[in-house]
């Protein structure tokens, strides 16, 4: 009897001590107006955000975009008015980040970042100087080194607002928000860009690009024409061809895109509609069909500017600029429908970008 009681006490103490390891990952959110980056520990199970102590962390001047290296050791933030890139070391145990100086110079107005899946190169879209900064990444230190051929010039006035690297890491696509064009480049072994074709016309005001995991289609959010362009991608050459019925009708000011890891669903943050549209993707034709059951769109916060699917593939997070918060949605993996999980986090200033660790 006494022995059984003792064992019960031991088990109770083990539980109280919280011996089990956690199953969480991290999310980093840029806030350009406060020159800071907020950090959160995110539950893999519930998607709940817990602020990391010390957050928000000081960053550069107007950090607009943030990407993480594949090992989740480093974070890179594009400082749009600082005209440089900040490197941060991630402390996975605490969730904190600490900047490693000096900052790496970029072009004028770096507004968006993209990294290849292998973590070899980082690309920055300089919206004001209309060029692309290209950096090789030291996997050990995270340090950036500008490659030969950087900054890669775009046509005058192109104002690149978005860019993305294909899953294979072979191609880079850049959207010109002012010209309504998408540029395609092959990425050389040293990071140099080679144009694969003449730019492809899309809708008005393209501000976001997304490529399906199979690397068959490129989706473009045309924010000023309320449409989504779909371009078929030739994986052998990198060339793009618009689908016959492209562009497709979307919500009010589609501004940001995210595709689930299976390539079955496309989620679009609508800046003017304050909501998120969900589309089912035809895996063979690439055609997006807006969900009717459950009915898309799904309400978000005020002025959503960025959307992402977290590393678990179970949750969608939306950065709402005017309501200064992060909306959370749970994905129904069967229907693609979203269940609004409310406000995952409130911020002191408007968020612009979200990056999550694995």
């Amino acid at each position: 009897m006494k022995r059984a009681a003792l064992i019960c006490v031991l088990v109770l103490l083990a539980g109280l001590a919280g011996c089990s390891s956690s199953s969480k990952h991290l999310a980093y959110v840029t806030s350009p107006t406060s020159n800071s980056i907020s950090a959160f520990r995110v539950s893999n199970h519930s998607g709940k955000f817990t602020p990391v102590i010390g957050s928000p962390f000081p960053a550069g001047s107007s950090p607009t975009s943030i990407v993480l290296d594949p090992a989740d050791k480093f974070a890179y933030a594009a400082n749009q008015t600082g005209n440089d890139i900040s490197l941060f070391k991630i402390d996975n145990s605490t969730g904190g980040i600490s900047e490693i100086r000096p900052r790496t110079p970029a072009g004028i107005g770096p507004a968006a970042l993209a990294m290849d899946s292998g973590g070899a190169f980082l690309f920055a879209a300089n919206v004001s100087s209309s060029d692309i900064s290209i950096y090789s990444i030291n996997a050990g230190t995270g340090a950036l080194t500008e490659v030969a051929g950087s900054r890669f010039a775009l046509p005058s006035g192109a104002s690149p607002a978005a860019l993305t690297v294909s899953p294979s890491g072979k191609y880079l696509y850049v959207a010109s928000s002012t010209l309504g064009l998408v540029f395609g480049y092959s990425i050389g072994s040293g990071g140099a860009l080679q144009e694969v074709q003449s730019p492809v016309a899309v809708g008005s005001g393209p501000f976001s690009l997304a490529i399906d995991p199979g690397e068959h289609f490129v989706y473009v959010a045309n924010s000023l024409s309320d449409t989504i362009s779909v371009l078929s991608l030739d994986a052998s050459t990198g060339t793009l061809t618009a689908l016959p019925n492209s562009p497709f009708t979307a919500g009010n000011n589609p501004i940001s895109l995210a595709i689930d890891s299976a390539g079955k669903f496309l989620y679009v943050a609508n800046l003017g509609g304050n909501n998120v549209s969900a589309f089912a993707l035809d895996s063979s034709t690439g055609v997006p069909t807006e969900l009717t059951t459950p009915k898309s769109p799904f309400a978000a916060g005020t002025r959503p500017v960025f959307i992402t699917i977290d590393s678990t593939g179970k949750f969608v997070y939306v950065a709402n600029e005017n309501s200064r918060d992060i909306s959370a949605f749970t994905i129904d993996s069967t229907t693609g429908g979203l269940t609004n999980g409310g406000i995952a986090a409130s911020l002191g200033s408007g968020p612009s970008w979200i990056a999550t660790t694995k």
Binding site: L13, S21, S93
Partner: protein, 236 residues
Amino acid sequence: MGLELVRRGCFTAGYSIQVVDTQEIPKLRMKKHPPLNANGVCAALRHAGCKTISLVIFLSSMVLSHFAMAQEIPRAQLFGGYSYTRFDSPTLGFANPSNLSGFNISPAFNLAYGFGVKAELTGQYGSKLNVRDVTVGPQFLYPRGRALFFAHALFGDSRSFVRVGTGEGDTARAIVLGGGVDLDVSPRFAFRAVQVDYVRTTLFSTTQNNVRISTGLVYRWHTIRRRGHKPTLSSP
């Protein structure tokens, strides 16, 4: 059935006493005691990196069976020793709970037989965060032979500093609920075999549920005897 106090040999700095049925003594001499079958629990604890907890609880379990009747408690006590805290740092965004080590200093003054007041000052230190608590409250004591069991409820403040980013500090309320057992080593000294506390703090606007385990030495002054009973231990 008669009872006899049997010396079982040295236990740390002193010796322990076990209550046995005198009719069972021949049997005890004939066969060995079966070992405590808590291997599964110990393995789970070790797997979770809780070796310290396992060790302290194992020691306490060995001690708890070694007691007999006594009818006095010390008037005043001063405890000092090692302290381990499993801090609920996921509430601060950490990936896992933090293992903190440090000290526990605790003076107590017993107002009556079985009841006193206690203060506790603890400092716990880890690679990323430090926590210091100052708490005061009542304690309740129950002597059994050379063992003195106690329980307490302490209230006060907790001060924490976290080395993340530029560093963050906070002070908040702390509640400590727990107890333990002291074993006589000499009239002046006792060995605190174990003290286990649940420590609730509200640092950085979140609530932490922490576990603290302490062990060390207790220095004692004078005694309070229970009315109507003669002392079984010599008093300083």
